[in-house]
């Protein structure tokens, strides 16, 4: 039963995890992107459509990522170039994503794809317990296992990471040393959109093999919440995503045991867990909100 819950946690947490890693990059550079939900939807549809047309889920992944990137480009342009309010813009982008995908997704509801399927890794998947939990997933899930340490390395062990973090914390210093924070922010938002798009692809092409209107169902917004819960740290965001997935798997398992707990109460569990986690994190005062999240740097005020 524990194995099932942990496996389920990874299965249903991976799409959220991709999106939260993307959001993390964007917020580290000082831009909140509530449009993540929209990017995921566009990624889910774009990835599904291209997989239908080409039969190749990898091309679908690329396309889905690019769709997520395109949507986030609107966000970047409005916020960074036009100086629009990031929260309002993000919300608009989210609803725009819902609208545009239900419009263009109309013809894909009944399409069938082969997509990504679980590939047990030889030898490793034979390990009792761990093998089943970790090494019997689809390729996009394996890729996400590699993504997180990579992102951590990039953020905390490379020059690029220093620049990215400085963009979100001490933009004036960065500006003085001859780097345009605006440019870094653009890159961060677009990278975030790409990853959110891939998260959408994981949901449509690898996990459900389906496209349905508004199928992301708030997972993009949960991803944004997870970044805050994770104090902007990649491994914590990963943990948070799996916690969310585990809560979903747990409520399904609990329902099947026939315990007298209302499923409608159980539906809240993922959110309650996230809320509780946030509270604990806040109490420990470990939160490290990037300074720039509270304002938008235009490149002129500091110059």
């Amino acid at each position: 039963m524990i194995t099932d819950i942990l496996t389920g946690a990874i299965r249903s947490g991976t799409s959220v995890m991709y999106a939260s890693q993307g959001e993390l990059i964007s917020e580290r550079a000082g831009v909140i992107n509530l449009g993540t939900e929209g990017s995921m939807l566009c990624g889910a549809l774009g990835g599904f459509a291209v997989t239908v047309w080409t039969g190749n889920p990898w091309l679908g992944t690329l396309a889905g990522g690019l769709c997520g990137l395109l949507i986030s480009m609107i966000h970047a342009f409005l916020v960074l170039t036009c100086g629009a309010n990031q929260l309002a813009t993000g919300l608009t982008i989210m609803f725009f994503g819902m609208g545009i995908t239900s419009f263009f997704g109309r013809g894909f509801v009944s399409e069938q794809i082969v997509g990504f399927n679980p590939v047990p890794i030889p030898l490793l998947s034979e390990i009792p317990f761990l093998g089943k939990v970790l090494f019997n997933h689809d390729p996009l899930t394996y890729l996400s296992f590699i993504l997180v340490p990579l992102l951590w390395y990039l953020l905390f062990r490379t020059r690029l990471g220093v620049i990215l973090r400085a963009t979100g914390e001490r933009e004036d210093v960065l500006f003085a040393s001859g780097i345009n924070p605006q440019l870094i922010r653009y890159a961060a938002v677009l990278a975030g959109g790409f990853l959110a798009g891939v998260g959408g692809v994981q949901l449509s092409v690898a996990f459900t093999h389906s496209w349905v209107e508004n199928m992301v169902q708030g997972r993009g917004v949960v991803a944004v919440a997870l970044v805050i819960f994770a104090s902007w740290l990649p491994f914590r965001a990963m943990l948070g995503a799996y916690l969310f997935g585990a809560a979903q798997a747990l409520q399904l398992t609990v329902q099947q045991t026939g315990l007298g707990i209302s499923p409608f109460f159980l539906f809240m569990v993922p959110y309650i867990l996230t809320l509780a986690a946030l509270y604990i994190v806040e109490r420990k005062k470990r939160s490290q909100t990037p300074e720039a999240l509270r304002k938008v740097f235009t490149g002129t005020s500091a110059g």
């Binding site: 329902q255 099947q256 490290q288």
Partner: protein, 386 residues
């Protein structure tokens, strides 16, 4: 200060989650059958007379391998039977005031006959019906009616019972799974019929029921399907609007599957056992015919109409290619008994999960009693959300 910022952010984000997930959940109206017919004032013309157009609203997409596809096929039959009539359709109409707006627009466009086809479209339809006594409404599955609003449905639990018989015969583990949305009577009735069917051929069979809280959330469906299969279930059935994800997931995992609403055998060439489907075509045409002739009132459609298996309004699909002949034959025999009326799935004694007698020995529940189902029968594992 950082603490304040992030708390604010989180609050906003949480509100958003609730907004999004909340929007997509269908309203769980307990809908007690209020017999009171609201309208007092007589309208001059009978509702629907000589309507130049007919409107259909669907809660989902017309090709969802499910509920909406079945209703859409019915609307196609109406279009074919009345080539001169304008057929207005609107898909993805939420079960909110938005549905009222869509129906008002259809009436403006000339429709005097409206089919609100989702359970949750009932209350919006009742509101619109009050304002337009000259328009006839045929609501799918509702338990409330009005002067100019009748509801139609089918006793889909009859084929579901047969599907349960087939599932009980086919299952090796004796563990069946049922993925459902919200605890409305239709849903509970189907789960009960399925379990009764399965245990009629395998007394040890159990049905694990899982609520997803939504009519169509592929992510949750895939979660639920995987979770049930992981726990040893080898036949999956469902009561969802879109059925594709569960059927495909079960096929990929090597489990067997029972379809619902529409024939989806092509999605599971290996695991498809059978499915319970709607056959609205002839019924829709007959209802439209009755209304345009001005005969809505007093017809069998102005109250609660329920089509039976014997009338071919609900059907059991052909069995899958992997189903052995003796099982096919056995189910056919049971079907013949159901149609002839010699077999009655809910004939007492029927016990609920707690072991209490719901229908006593020799008791034969009426359709109204069945549609008020608020319990799960013995052998079903899971709870009704309170």
């Amino acid at each position: 200060m950082s603490m304040k910022t992030s708390s604010k952010l989180f609050g906003l984000v949480l509100a958003l989650v609730m907004l999004i997930t909340g929007c997509s959940q269908p309203g769980v109206t307990p809908a007690p059958a209020s017999g009171a017919n609201a309208e007092g004032g007589e309208a001059s013309a009978a509702p629907g007379t000589d309507s130049p157009a007919v409107g259909f609203i669907f809660v989902g997409a017309r090709d969802d391998f499910g509920y909406n596809q079945a209703a859409y096929l019915g609307s196609m039959a109406v279009e074919k039977a009345y080539p001169d009539m304008k057929v207005l359709r609107s898909e993805n109409v939420p079960e909110t005031a938005e549905a009222e707006r869509v129906m008002e627009q259809m009436i403006k466009d000339g429709a005097k006959i409206i089919f609100p086809t989702s359970y949750g479209h009932l209350d919006p339809a009742l509101n619109v019906a009050k304002r337009h006594p000259d328009v006839a409404f045929f609501h799918q599955g509702g338990l409330k009616t009005a002067e100019n609003l009748g509801t139609y449905f089918g006793t889909i639990w009859e084929p579901v019972y047969l599907a349960g018989v087939a599932a009980g015969k086919m299952s090796e583990s004796g563990k069946l799974g049922y993925i459902v949305s919200v605890p409305i009577p239709q849903v509970l009735l189907n789960v009960n019929a399925f379990q009764l069917g399965a245990q009629s051929v395998n007394p040890d069979a159990t049905t694990s029921v899982v609520f997803t809280g939504s009519w169509c959330d592929p992510g949750q469906q895939a979660n639920a399907a995987n979770s049930l299969i992981d726990s040893g279930v080898d036949v999956l059935s469902q009561h969802q609007d879109c059925t594709k994800t569960v059927i495909e997931t079960s096929e990929r995992r090597g489990a067997m599957t029972i379809g619902y609403h529409a024939n989806a055998a092509t999605l599971a060439p290996q695991g498809w056992i059978t499915g319970s489907v709607w056959n609205w075509s002839d019924l829709f045409v007959d209802m439209v015919d009755t209304a345009i002739k001005g005969e809505f009132k007093g017809s069998k459609y102005d109250g609660k109409f329920r089509g039976r298996l014997s009338e071919n309004i609900v059907q059991l699909t052909e069995m899958g290619s992997e189903v052995p002949d003796d099982v096919k034959q056995f189910v056919e025999e049971k079907k013949a008994e159901l149609v002839a009326g010699t077999l009655s799935p809910f004939a007492g004694p029927v016990l609920d999960q707690a072991g209490e007698v719901r229908f006593a020995e020799g008791e034969e529940p009426t359709l109204d009693e069945l549609e008020a189902a608020d319990f799960l029968v013995q052998g079903v594992i899971g709870n009704i959300p309170k």
